[in-house]
Amino acid sequence: MYNSVDELQAALNEQDYIAERGLSVAIYLALKTGKPLFLEGDAGVGKTEIAKVLSAALATDLIRLQCYEGLDVNTAVYEWNYAGQILHLRLMETERRHSPDTEGLAREAMEDELFSERFLLKRPLLQAIEQSRDGTAPVLLIDELDRSDEEFEAFLLELLSDFQVSIPELGTITATVPPVVVVTSNRTREIHDALKRRCLYYWIDYPHFHKELNIVERKAPDVPPMLARQITAFIQDMRAMELFKRPGIAETLDWTAALIALDQNELSLETVQDTLGVILKYQDDVEMLDPTTIQNMIDRANVEAQRA
């Protein structure tokens, strides 16, 4: 475990994640105080990535729960292996028939056998709590919570305060060490205050030029230095436009990979036009970038790249 924010920041850096000071402080406090970390921000700014990097840095498992509407206990916490249970029940019945002197198992004993851990399918939340019982806390990523519905949010509220799950047939399972919880949201709807209050809140913004350039160089070491600067400047310029979906860092990296795959050394009108689909995912946005606009943006990016 880390003893200062600086140490944590260095560890994240080692994993090629360039975190701002505020984010590092929030993560550090989450680790120290056992509070969930609640991250909001536009798509593609690296919210999910944090959980991955954190689990790598802490050398623990990452357990991920992708939220969607109608997510329920059966998919989030546990489910019984019904096929296995039925098969086992049949076997028990057959055994009983072949040895008539044993009256067969009493009903409770049968139930105990059928509803035992053997037939329990552990879903992400239960897995996280189970693992925490062994003393090593995994990183639990609850991704895109805004896509789930209020019912699940209420359930999560209970789980995040006690870190325990009760299964009627088995009893209550409690985590000894609370898992490191990272909750992300794209803010397509507001998450309830009660849940936010239990968490440490951090809003991840789009990075500024130097940070993004740093990320590009880190994640794509074989990119020509000048191209990296041009790409970053171009994307930064693009984010200032009124787009329906502004490109995130994920798009910057995808685009860089695409340009490397196409053996480009610098931005040209033609390549930008051909690869626009990597950055922009809405037809309206693509239409905003006509050839003159793109050429202007390339020129500006060139100037910016020379200066930086």
Binding site: V5, V25, A26, G70, Y201
Partner: protein, 414 residues
Amino acid sequence: MSQNGPIKGVFLGPADAPYDYHGGKLTHNLILFGRVCRALGMNVTPNRMMDVGRALAHIQLGRKQDFYYTLRAHLVNHPKEFAYFDEAFDIFWRRPSEGFTTLNLQSLGEERRKKKTQFLPPLDSSPSENGAEAEELDSSMIALAPTYSRQERLRHKDFAEMTAAELEMAKRVIAKMPDSLGMRRTRRYEKGVGRQINMRRLMKDMIRKRGDVTQLPTHRRKEKPRPVVLLCDISGSMERYTRVLLHFMHTLAGSLYQVESFVYSTDITRITRQIRQKNVDDALEDIGGTVLQWGGGTMTGECLHRFNWTWSRRVLGRGAVVILITDGWDRGDIPLLHREMARLQLSCRRLIWLNPLLDVPEYEPLTRGAQALLPYVHDFLPITNLANLEVIVKALQNLSARPSADAYRQRYLA
């Protein structure tokens, strides 16, 4: 900001925690700061303050930046609060030598409040004694009203109180209101006759009956009403209907599940919160004060653009039904209107257009605006008398269960 309030007795972690070095002053100041934040509208509870105290034990207090982020992570939980927090933080935690007085703090909230409600710079701004401050105020006010134009009639709307007859009618209407404008299937299950076997219950039955199950228990997908989004035109041409329409929106917001309400003319305003008030007169008065573009021109394209960009992703999830209430008169950018209608149609489940001009039997939607709207709507509702709420409700009752395919056909096969 009195310094002698009941601050005693709050426990902020172990007594030997590193933050307590300066004779407990920090704890005291923290609590005061918490109050400032609460006064600025942040959700600061004693519990949160205790968390802050515990968290501070983990960081180096010497680094102001870390101290700042620690407080922020605990006290702020909405992006719009960052600005308030930063301002409060700067004033509160400056060095004493910089001339800190409680006066600054008192004026903090006041200034904000002033900035929030005042949309127009004073017409003949007289230079005040504090020139720099006045300038700062001015610039923030202009930034708050980027779409302001002199032609727009900025005035508050007065709605007379509802008469007894109107309230009576509202009651009748509510009784007839459909429960929902269509249902959507969720991924949750409920008991009942369906195609899927409820395995959990089957297992229990099998154990109870020793394997001799005569009936397979089933469950089915739970259904929920679709959310509804109301977009109401309140421009000049719609003026005579505005009151009754707002009344209608109030009724809908009170009787349907998850209703989001917006009004627009030259700009769009969300009135979901205001219209949710139980008393219709209170709601209308509140809206009259909030919305500033009553009776202006109609710029549907621009307003829909704003809606699509800022709100659609937040309110059009879960297969929402959109009801657009407008007469189709438009003075805005028509190509833009086409684009925005197309996007709106693609991002909702069903787009319904209520048109009051259908009063006249031989009315045909020939205006440019109407021509732009028509290809994209799923349902075009003929309202013969918009002044009568019951008629609107009846039209909604008679809606087919599914959106018609016409919209798509007109759009792609034209």
